[in-house]
């Protein structure tokens, strides 16, 4: 497989995510499978009706972490290309907040890699969402990335 990490597409956008462009980006004649994950805004949270969401990111670090995930995916699964796009700003119900596409010669690697990519993104990429309801707004309960162990004196 000749593809390198240079072929991966990681981006934070403030406009609508173009799924077709992401799928086209990863699709090639050498592949036999593409798996995509489309994460979009749900109309409720714990029984409260959601009006809209607001996303923010530590953008430079988020992109670094997204590229690290691509590198981990490449080191672990036999895949061809990845696209990992996350939207920021205000998102309405039904709009895509995150889209991941993975191509591979065979489907098993594409499924596994896509699952790993979204699970790892949700745990390690510094992005936050605030949920707006009719009667207030809250920052979503997030996941705490594992901090490195304390530095020992050397």
């Amino acid at each position: 497989m000749t593809a390198t990490a240079d072929n991966d597409w990681c981006e934070l956008l403030r406009v609508r995510i173009d799924w077709n462009a992401a799928v086209k980006h990863v699709r090639a004649d050498m592949d036999g499978a593409i798996v995509t994950f489309d994460g979009f805004v749900r109309n409720e949270s714990h029984g409260r009706r959601t009006l809209y969401l607001q996303y923010e990111a530590y953008e430079s670090m988020a992109l670094t972490k997204m590229r690290e995930i691509c590198a981990q995916v490449r080191a672990t699964y036999c895949i061809h290309r990845l696209a990992m796009l996350h939207r920021l700003g205000r998102l309405e119900i039904g709009e895509t907040s995150v889209f991941i596409a993975v191509s591979a010669p065979h489907r098993a690697a594409a499924f596994d890699a896509c699952r790993f990519a979204i699970d790892t993104l949700k745990r390690t990429v510094p992005i936050w969402k605030k949920e707006f309801f009719e009667d207030g707004a809250v920052w979503a309960d997030g996941q705490l990335p594992a901090p490195p162990p304390p530095k020992t004196a050397s």
């Binding site: 670090m61 996350h86 907040s97 510094p126 920052w139 997030g142 901090p147």
Partner: protein, 88 residues
């Protein structure tokens, strides 16, 4: 009188709920040489006592990498205090 140590300057960023609490998205601050992430956070805790409640749920980063709390700062570092992430 505290000892006068040479200062170093770092950039500090806050996000999400701690950005709202402090009212600071980003600022430049001078601190004594040898200051660790823990000590830098304690400085902000003095300015914003409500931050103390968030301390167990925060991780720190130094130059775009998650960093241990006892990491010493270097001049020009980008430091951030990150609440639990909730992307996706």
């Amino acid at each position: 009188m505290p000892h006068v140590l040479p200062n170093l300057r770092v950039k500090v960023l806050f996000f999400g709920r701690v950005r709202e609490l402090t009212g600071i998205a980003e600022e430049s601050i001078a601190v004594p040489e040898g200051t660790t992430l823990t000590e830098l956070f304690e400085h902000y805790q003095k300015r914003f006592p409500m931050l103390a409640a968030f301390r167990p749920s925060l991780v720190a980063s130094r130059n775009q990498e998650f960093a241990a709390w006892n990491t010493p700062l270097a001049s020009g570092d980008d430091i951030a205090f990150l609440p639990p992430v909730s992307g996706g």
